[in-house]
Amino acid sequence: MIRCRPFLPVLALGSLLAGAAVDAQQEAPAVPYTPPRTPDGQPDIQGIYNPVGTFYNIEDLEYQSLYQQFKPNPAMRGRSLIIDPPDGKIPFQPWAAEKRKPIYELHLDPPPDWVDPNAQCWPQGVPRHVNNREFEIFQPPGHVVIFNLAHHTYRVIPVDGSPHIPGNIKLWVGDSRGRWEGNTLVVDVTNNNDQTWFDVMASFHSDELRVTEHFTPVSRDRIEYRAVMTDPKVYTRPWTFAIHFNRNKEPGVEVWEEACVEANRKNIDLLERPGR
């Protein structure tokens, strides 16, 4: 049997989400945790983690499954991964809410232009990059690098005080620059392009999106994560998204290759267009 992990986003997501949202709202331990240090003095948060969240509908945890596995969970009705604003909704400007509405409504059977960008194997963007599948945090000197199992995407976060790249360059996972505030990794993400969604529900943004992330290790095996999204083109105010990550404690575990474009027949058809 071939041991490669197939690209099966629907199944994988379904299993990941079983009961995930319940965990999401649990309180962090009260005792302050001080992680060990890497050789270059960073708090050491290296390891493989699973996000406890959902990229199906970050605004409404009642709907936790995708496509054919659709099973609403009434217990979670009204709960959201968005902790600010208090209503748990993305504060879209009116035009943007209008624009999103039909895409939102047709998400179960979207026309080609309204397919979730991530389902097309495009990189996830931030924060979806850490609200997706299993990922690994790696801390070589001067950097925090995050490798995501899904689509083998990665983020490089220099923590050396270097400045952002010129503003007009737009990237799929943006340009991340980090710093440690105590044991919390604070990352400023700019240079995002406008092609990614935060979930399957057309939660879009513009290329003026700026994300400020906080990674706070609260125990050896758990990191609390907050991201503040600012985008004056699309939102009426900044909003905050919160999840946490649990360490994968399986001994000797490694994040292995997962091809996406290469394994997805549908996408191959999309690629058959003039020019390389």
Binding site: M1, I2, R3, C4, P39, W95, A96, E98, K99, R100, I103, D113, P117, Q120, C121, W122, P123, F138, P140, P141, H143, V145, F147, H151, H152, T153, Y154, V156, P158, S162, P163, I165, I169, L171, W172, V173, D175, D194, Q195, W197, A202, F204, H205, S206, D207, K233, V234, E254, V255, W256, E257, A259, V261, E262, N267, I268, L270, L271, G275, R276
Partner: protein
């Protein structure tokens, strides 16, 4: 007092070494905390090997190149040689690169895009600009048991003196070595050798073995150049997404 002045001298001499050594035959290699050569940084090959591993004249948008294959010959068996000719004839459609697929190893190493090496004692990672390919090189651990077919293979490394030796297996038969249809099967076995030859150059060598396709192992080699531009970083080249952009964000007019 004498002792103290000697200390000063030693300190100064140590500081002065890099400039003196750069000019000599014994270049200063940056080292990691564990004493191994420090390969970390942004690197790029400057060869034309991605177009053709072998010597080739220029074509439209293809610079000429002297080739990177030792002996200027790839030892195909008869059937594989025929397959290569067929690949060449169909290369406009058949090259997996035209579909933006992961290019495999060693091809990713000479794609004309930068990549960044991250290094810790047990684990070396490479992050590539081209289709955000990544390679994870775990040191001193065995390959997972196969059969496994990965586009980028499974890389396991070890240090031999100042050379990082990386053994790569578990490939698919879907990748090519270049745009002229040079190819391999899933039986491909690549042994890479990364030898720093100064602060800003790595000598890269790969031995390629595939009993299904080649009659003997063969070698490629070329230098990797450290990108010295201020603020250099790996950007993105998400080529499968080109031309498929959406306009979700535009206000309706």
């Amino acid at each position: 007092m004498i002792l103290r002045s000697v200390c000063v001298l030693v300190a100064v001499a140590t500081l002065a070494i890099p400039s003196a050594v750069v000019a000599g035959q014994n270049p200063q290699i940056p080292r990691a905390a564990d004493g191994k050569p420090d390969l970390s940084g942004v690197w790029q090959a400057a060869t034309t090997a991605n177009w053709n591993l072998l010597p080739h004249a220029a074509e439209k948008d293809v610079p000429a190149g002297l080739g990177v294959v030792e002996g200027n010959e790839i030892p195909y068996n008869a059937a594989a040689a025929a397959q290569q000719r067929q690949n060449f004839a169909n290369r406009a459609q058949a090259d997996p690169e035209t579909r933006c697929f992961l290019p495999g190893v060693p091809r990713i190493m000479y794609m004309p895009f930068p990549f960044q090496i991250f290094q810790t004692p047990g684990h070396i990672a490479m992050a590539f600009e081209y289709v955000h390919a990544v390679r994870r090189i775990f040191l001193n651990t065995p390959h997972p048991e196969g059969p496994i077919e990965w586009w980028m293979g499974d890389s396991r490394g070890r240090w031999e003196g100042d050379t990082l030796v990386v053994d790569v297996v578990h490939f698919t038969n879907q990748t090519w070595f270049d745009r002229t249809g040079n190819f391999h099967s899933e039986g491909l076995h690549v042994v890479e050798r990364y030898t720093p030859i100064g602060p800003n150059h790595i000598h890269y060598e790969a031995t390629i073995e595939d009993p299904n396709v080649f009659t003997r192992p063969w070698k490629i080699s070329f230098p990797l150049y450290r990108r010295l531009e201020k603020g250099i970083r790996v950007l993105d080249y998400e080529c499968y997404a080109f031309g498929l952009e959406r306009t979700w964000y535009k206000p309706t007019e």
